[in-house]
Amino acid sequence: MEIVSWLWNIQSGATLGVIWGIMGLGLYLTYRVLNYADLTVDGSLTLGGAISAVYVAAGVQPIVAILLATFGGMMAGLVTGLLHTKLRIPDLLAGILTQFALYTVNLRIMGKANFGLLNQTTIFSQLKDLGIPSKWVGLIVGLVFVVILIILVYCFFGTEIGCALRATGNNPDMVKAMGGNTKVYIMLGLIVGNGLVAMSGGMLAQYQGYADINMGVGTIVIGLASIMIGEVLFSKRTYFHRLAGVIIGSVVYRIIIAIVLRISMNSNFIVKITADDMKLITAIIVIIALVAPDMKDRFLSKFAKEGK
């Protein structure tokens, strides 16, 4: 029975990974594609959660609440974009300022630091009512969203505008020389990216049954962890691989966390590991993922030399 309970732990980790993976897609768009380190995300994830929770509690259709959350995130991205392109505030600072301001906005939306959704109709409870086992609804809803989003983002990258957006992250001088307004593409990337992050937050609030003012803390680091784990595990061949890699990375990250928590639950370490220790562990995971490709190259080249 032990093994079955382990598998359920891993399954629930995977569910969280898929839902948080949508945030990873958004961060991938700004951080990797646009080459913009956008710190708005910590605030826009919470914003999504807050909007989604408040509307669900008001009796709005859960899916509509998620779309409204997405829209809220897009507006947060727009603000960061305007701060950066119109007022010429450096990228990191523009994101930090929006994130900071969002703390107040999020508190105002919820009216309190923690907004519970006990016995409310959520997108997950609706599926449960259709007869889908409750342990699987999270994963199913998450996967449906993720598949649709990956297809949409992939198609977007292939359009003229998507192509110009990718080029903006790669070489803005070239885009300007080709008549593209890089400011517009930076704003577009931030809008879509933060929309996805808030969508993830909106789903998360409905999944866990509450929105919390601190739910977005560390979003950027978790997103980076997902992106980097995905890149270490998955090839960078096509955008399909890369986008799917972000989701896989997010799932692997959550499974690692689930396993660490599970082990610590039953054992007597000198220090008992709790959910509060996850931030340190996450930072270590990101550091390992950052260093791993470089280490691999060095190891391989050393190996090749010794082989001769």
């Binding site: 198609c155 359009t159 003229e160 990718r166 080029a167 001088d173 020389a177 008549g179 593209g180």
Partner: protein
Amino acid sequence: MLEISHVYKSFNIGTPVQKDALMDVNLKLNEGDFVTIIGGNGAGKSTMLNAVAGVFEVEKGKITIDGTDVTKFPEYKRAKYIGRVFQDPLRGTAGDMWIEENLAMALRRGKTRSFVWGISNKEREQFVELLKHLDLGLEDRLDSKVGLLSGGQRQALTLLMATIKKPQLLLLDEHTAALDPKTAKKVLEITQRVVEEHNLTTLMVTHNMKDAIKYGNRLIMMHNGTIIYDVSGEEKKNLHVSDLLAKFEQVSGGEFANDRMMLAN
């Protein structure tokens, strides 16, 4: 075609290191003019090209292209009229993107971009034809990343991108300076061919006086932010490097031509 009148541009205004880069520059190009620009370091050659391209706004003066006053246009809006190749081979192309994606971007220069998906097969055929013409073996590599190409290949590709949609004006800013002599020669030959084929109005900055004499129908020399010498036609054809050096010594007050210009010969 291009008309620059009384253009001034200074950098670091009001500081001890103020640099008056352009001082009352006046230039009028006729349709099909291929002008080479020479001058020492800091003479204002690149600054003039950047002023035309709209990299910055000028303090005073007016720039018109084909009758349109573009003085207040931002860089991306002027791109509708202008094709550019930079000195740095990395600047003109997106290295992480495919050759065909770069060319597709170039084909849409100055056009409003939309959510239309993909690159059509007809466009791909056009790219293959044009790349064949470059004769660098790039025609089978449409889906190679541009970052994998050599500097010479990247400059040739940038040149193709600058001209794939015929520009009213082509700006070449020392586009062969970062290449080895053999590759530089090849890229210059391609430049000559493309400019003649499309009868492009062209401004080419070079530090090589032989090239400045060999290519184009008109030559201008800049010094201290102004144009001090302007020759065309027969007179230009009969120029020798020694004439240019003499001219250069004369304007720089008897000082010897700077090392870079000397070495270039």
